[in-house]
Symmetry: C2
Subunit: 285 residues, 2 copies
């Protein structure tokens, strides 16, 4: 079978970009994976773990022959990187990204592609990752069983969408489509708010107190080990939606406090039962 | 080597009590473990999984020959159960419990033992468990590597404390000593608040949204699957301390919201870095 793309370029082969490169190579979804980065040491690591066939520090050279270019840099770098890639991408190629926030990214990259109407941009968000960072933590199975959210815009060619969907499905992901605004509202609640809540929880605990804790605190706060610079980027890109999520969350917490302070324990039990039922329905572990 | 206790009675052999019975039997920390419960079906299950050598529905008969009686019932049942056990325990025996909240329990059980000054009460809280419930989820390794908090009162005999400490250490736990009030304040932050925060997070998420989430949401909300009746008991027993913890938490969340709304992202990054440093120091996974 022909691979869906002859050459794929991944700009920023870190945890997610590197896992993508490994998955593509393991599954023969391209003949060649080119890793593009800003530091030679990271690129050497990408080669070492098998995340790319070739690497380069030169964006223009790296993207030139690629049928698919995936930007996997931190969000704040996407605009300039997209502009640089756009100048050198080949006729008819597909540009994509894997950022955690979509509305600003879609606007920025669409603007960067204004003079390249022949390049198709399809923004995606693979809902996989971990609190770790760097290509040394990349793994080719990262996307297996995960969801990859596509946020196409009006006019995205159907053929390219279908091809990119098949590409992600070949890596074991289920593809879901949302508009960018809905995406950002939803991930504020299912990803960004939990991160901030975990950070707030751990900030309240002193070291000698944490030493007493069981596994519950470790589970609940695991994501707070995520990279602060990366999360700052995410928060900055989705501030309005995260504020709304924080408000809803604060309201829920305040409601619990009222039930506790007023001795309304039957209502509290009912609330905890609803939470348990939801958690048990959502997740099997 | 002589076992530390000839006969141990466990009242309420569920997840924690059953795991205790299994650990005691596997490590030969008693010649006989008697499981005492209110439902024959639970007692049959306790026998089946190896959590007890014998079982009985009769508290008086079950505790009569025990050198150590451990109450592992829900918190709200501890008072009546302790009173019943106190009437039949043998001269010089030790009474203990494994409740998650200590101040009220210590007062209640101390009152129940007013006419049995020969019985020593030592309240303990093994910081181990899971979101699961029931003896079918018990396991003999539950306490390995965990912390068991002792909350002795003034006048607790040193010899009995030392013996019970050795008993818990033999099950792989590290023993720490706190006064009951400090214990309740600390667990409000390291255990009870995380539970309520997890419940609040999952309550904000719709089912079709949860289906999109990565592993972070699953980790962060795992403890929300805990038994609602058991957690109602805990909340009721430690309401004042949990309210204080919720207030501190709400303050931290509000502070984050302010940083986001005012665009103070460098400060937010600093805060997230503090949280990451703490989490990385506290836990290795």
């Amino acid at each position: 079978m022909e691979p869906p793309f002859e050459t794929i370029a991944i700009i920023g082969p870190g945890l997610v970009g590197g896992s993508l490169g490994m998955a593509v190579r393991r599954r023969s979804l391209a003949r060649r994976v080119i890793g593009i980065g800003r530091r030679q040491s990271s690129l050497d690591a990408a080669l070492r773990v098998g995340a790319a066939d070739e690497v380069t520090l030169d964006v223009a050279a790296g993207v030139r022959e690629a049928g698919l270019v995936v930007i996997a840099t931190p969000i704040s770098a996407i605009g300039p990187v997209a502009a640089e890639a756009a100048r050198s991408m080949k006729q008819g190629a597909v540009l994509s990204d894997v950022a955690s926030v979509k509305q600003g990214v879609v606007e920025t990259v669409t603007a960067a592609l204004r003079e390249r109407p022949d390049v198709t941009f399809i923004s995606t968000h693979p809902m996989a990752g971990s609190e770790q960072r760097g290509v040394e933590h990349a793994r080719e199975s990262l996307f297996e069983g995960s969801v990859c959210i596509f946020t196409p815009v009006e006019g995205t060619p159907h053929g390219e969408l279908t091809r990119l969907r098949a590409f992600w499905e070949a890596m074991g992901a289920s593809v879901r489509t949302l508009d960018a605004a809905t995406h950002d509202r939803v991930v504020a609640r299912i990803s960004h708010l939990p991160h901030l809540a975990a950070a707030a929880l751990i900030l309240l605990v002193a070291k000698d107190e944490a030493a007493l804790a069981g596994g519950g605190l470790a589970d609940t706060t695991r994501i707070a080990s995520g990279d602060p610079a990366l999360w700052r980027d995410i928060c900055e890109s989705n501030a309005a939606q995260i504020c709304r999520a924080l408000d809803d969350f604060a309201g829920e917490v305040q409601h619990m406090r009222t039930l506790l302070a007023e001795g309304r324990f039957a209502e509290l039990e009912e609330l905890l039962r609803n939470a348990k039922d939801k958690r048990d329905t959502f997740h099997s572990r």
